[in-house]
């Protein structure tokens, strides 16, 4: 049943995806309102799907696909928070496709559970997953904002008033969205990695730093930290910030993909 709700959510997010492509070519208040309502409805279905999974009694969050579903939901939550603060749907241009992709993969079918009951500290595990996914979602937003910043910056530099992407909010607003997402995401990501280490320690008694998943996660965290520090100290924006955000985002994707060949995250299958 959870899968069915998720597929309903996917259908709603599809409208958001169409909006994302549409918004790149023209501005339409009507369409942006439709996309917003569709996304909200999608979130309701998505939430129902997640609650049902939780109520099923298993710690199934740890399956890759359920994790993707959770990440998509968190990303949408961030998007909605930003909408509530700044009244702009423009981050949707980046967020909607990512959310759609994540939900799509999650909605194909249910994968076998990766982590099983012999993890001793289930509370820590849940905390780890929620924290890290919140961090990921913030990173998605920050990445999206840095791309939009680049777009808007180029547009203002090109000095063409009737440019295609006129829906974008002011440059400083985009900058604030990116920066706040970055600041918010960093402690979550850090705590998520710490709780992850705690889970690993409690399960195996050690943390294998040679494991690709661990290595890539640390790399991603390092890039994340560099972003925060450079932004804090010298206010990096625009191109340089976008390059860093892209690096962090790529590292995050690779770290995520590492689930498929990590020995630690595959303990359930072993």
């Amino acid at each position: 049943m959870a899968l069915l709700w998720l597929r309903f959510a996917l259908a709603c997010y599809f409208i958001g995806l169409i909006y994302a492509f549409f918004a790149l070519t023209r501005t339409s208040d009507l369409f942006s309102r439709i996309a917003l309502h569709a996304a909200s409805l999608g979130m309701v279905f998505h939430f129902v799907s997640l609650v049902e999974l939780f109520l099923s009694g298993h710690v199934v969050w740890t399956s890759v696909h359920n994790g993707e579903s959770l990440l998509a939901f968190f990303s949408m939550t961030f998007f909605m928070i930003i909408y509530a603060i700044y009244q702009t749907t423009s981050p949707g241009v980046v967020v909607f496709p990512i959310v759609f992709f994540l939900t799509f993969v999650a909605a194909i079918d249910q994968q076998p559970v990766l982590l099983t009951a012999f993890v001793q500290h289930k509370g820590w595990l849940i905390a780890h997953i929620i924290l890290i996914f919140t961090g990921y979602a913030a990173l998605v937003l920050s990445f999206g904002a840095s791309l939009l910043y680049l777009l808007q910056e180029r547009r203002l530099k090109a000095k063409k008033p009737s440019s295609l992407i006129s829906f974008l909010p002011a440059l400083e607003v985009i900058d604030q969205i990116g920066y706040r997402s970055l600041l918010l995401g960093f402690p979550f990501m850090t705590l998520g990695l710490i709780t992850g280490s705690v889970v690993a320690m409690s399960t195996y008694g050690y943390v294998d730093f040679k494991d690709p998943k661990i290595l890539l996660s640390i790399l991603m965290w390092a890039v994340y930290m560099v972003m925060v520090v450079t932004r804090w100290s010298s206010g990096w924006r625009g191109r340089r910030a976008a390059v860093l955000a892209t690096c962090a985002f790529v590292a995050a994707i690779v770290a995520w993909a590492a689930n498929y060949f990590s020995t630690i995250h595959r303990i359930a299958a072993s």
Binding site: L156, K159, P161, S162, A170, L171, G235, W236, R237, G238
Partner: protein
């Protein structure tokens, strides 16, 4: 109508070319004198604004070498300049002057500033004596036409000024303008206007730097702002988010290294430069820096182009007014030319009757004895009244007939009736010079 006009504007020439032709206010009188000293040019004036440099002349034969004047005066090669020039003659020149004064040829159609600029150029040229009868008439009419266009169409009312475009752009960069600081470099009218708009949208503090410190203080006081010495400009500029610059400096005053300094001190927070100076104050190299957004006068034109389209309907109406005014001007001009044919006769007639009046008064005065001042005045008024009444019908008839074929016959009849042949060779004959009518001629023709 031997009007000739040559020039460049924001449509015909890029900023790089206009920069080279721009004439500072201080050099305008000398340039006007040089212009009238050029062969074939009788009267001339120059309109030099950030969007246009135009030479308007009245020439002796309608074919003066105005291009030659520009090449010579600005030391420019023909191949660099000529592709950007436009030239109008006679009726077309009149139309162009009307369009410019009415702000139909402006970057921002309908903006009111151009009329003031044309009036200033006219006053300067008049002061040095390079504008006299012909251009005087043309521009007096142009100002009246501009007034008519403004009052009869909505072209001006919905005008999008540079200032409001600047505000719009600033909002695209900063979102809200609340708490943003503005720096005015070069205390010009346009900068002041832009600053006023920005303040109205919530900007916090205004800094003003000007080469003449007193002017900076004066302007800063208007906005409750802070005057900065020009030498301290680079140390203080990064305090502002928006910089409006319009100095008369011949070279860019903001260069790449300045931009880098500002950004470093501001931790890369963006800065918006509104560069309304010609030549530009912000170097193109600095404008390339990430975080520096510099809009020069041409960029602002692009930004307003969409608004211009909104007013095309009103502009059409204004163009119709211009067309009818050009026709009227031409008709009046021709009428005036013909009137000038009858003017010598009228003046001769006036002189003739005045002589009779004086002779008669002198003759009678001997018989009457000394008169009191009141009596003198009464006699003067009485005799003048009679003369004027006698003159009225012949003069009106002559002026009306001036446009008709019978004018020559009528002139001949009047001269024979009053025996004016001898008089015409006197002072009145000078009035026959069509190009330089004396004051009396002008009064009569009006």
């Amino acid at each position: 109508m031997r009007y000739q006009l040559i020039g460049v504007n924001h449509k015909s020439a890029p900023l790089e070319v206009r920069e080279r032709l721009a004439i500072p206010e201080s050099r305008l009188p000398d340039t006007c004198r040089d212009l009238t000293a050029h062969p074939g040019i009788e009267e001339g004036m120059i309109i030099s604004t950030c969007n246009r440099v135009e030479v308007v002349t009245h020439t002796s034969n309608g074919t003066a070498d105005l291009r030659g004047f520009l090449h010579q005066h600005f030391h420019l090669k023909a191949e660099d300049l000529d592709p950007h020039l436009y030239e109008f003659r006679e009726k077309d020149a009149v139309r162009h002057v009307f369009r410019v004064a009415s702000s139909l040829d402006s970057m921002v159609v309908g903006e009111a500033q151009i009329l003031g600029q044309v009036k200033e150029a006219y006053a300067t040229a008049r002061a040095v004596g390079s504008v006299r009868g012909q251009l005087d008439q043309l521009f007096t009419r142009a100002f009246a036409v501009a007034k008519r266009v403004r009052s009869e169409t909505a072209v001006g009312s919905s005008s999008v000024s540079i200032a409001s475009v600047a505000v719009e752009l600033a909002k695209k960069i900063f979102g809200s303008l609340q708490g943003k600081n503005v720096f005015i470099v070069g205390a010009g009218k346009m900068s002041e206007l832009a600053a006023r708009h920005l303040m109205a949208h919530g900007c916090a503090t205004i800094f003003v730097a000007n080469r003449t410190y007193d002017r900076a203080i004066g302007l800063a006081r208007k906005f409750d702002g802070q005057a900065i010495k020009f030498d301290d400009l680079y140390d203080n500029c990064d305090r502002a988010d928006i910089v409006i610059t319009s100095t008369g400096a011949p070279h860019a005053i903001f260069r790449r290294e300045h931009g880098e300094q500002f950004l470093a001190r501001r931790k890369n927070r963006p800065m918006f430069f509104i560069d309304i100076a010609v030549p530009r104050d912000v170097s193109p190299e600095m404008a390339k820096l990430d975080g520096i957004f510099a809009y020069d006068i041409d960029d602002l034109q692009q930004a307003v182009s969409s608004h211009v389209a909104d007013r095309s309907k009103e502009a059409e109406l204004a163009e119709a007014i211009i067309a009818s005014e050009v026709e009227k001007f031409e008709t009046r001009f021709e009428a005036r030319l013909h009137t000038l044919d009858v003017v010598p006769t009228i003046v001769s007639l006036q002189d003739h009757l005045e002589t009779i009046r004086q002779t008669e008064i002198d003759r009678v005065r001997g018989r009457m004895g000394p008169l009191t001042p009141e009596q003198e005045l009464a006699v003067e008024a009485l005799t003048r009244g009679i003369i004027n009444k006698v003159m009225h019908t012949p003069v009106t008839t002559l002026k009306t007939a001036a446009r008709e074929a019978e004018a020559t016959t009528l002139i001949d009849v009047v001269r024979r009736l009053f025996n004016l042949h001898d008089k015409e060779k006197g002072p009145a004959s000078q009035a026959g010079n069509k190009e330089k009518p004396n004051k009396k001629d002008v009064e009569l023709s009006n």
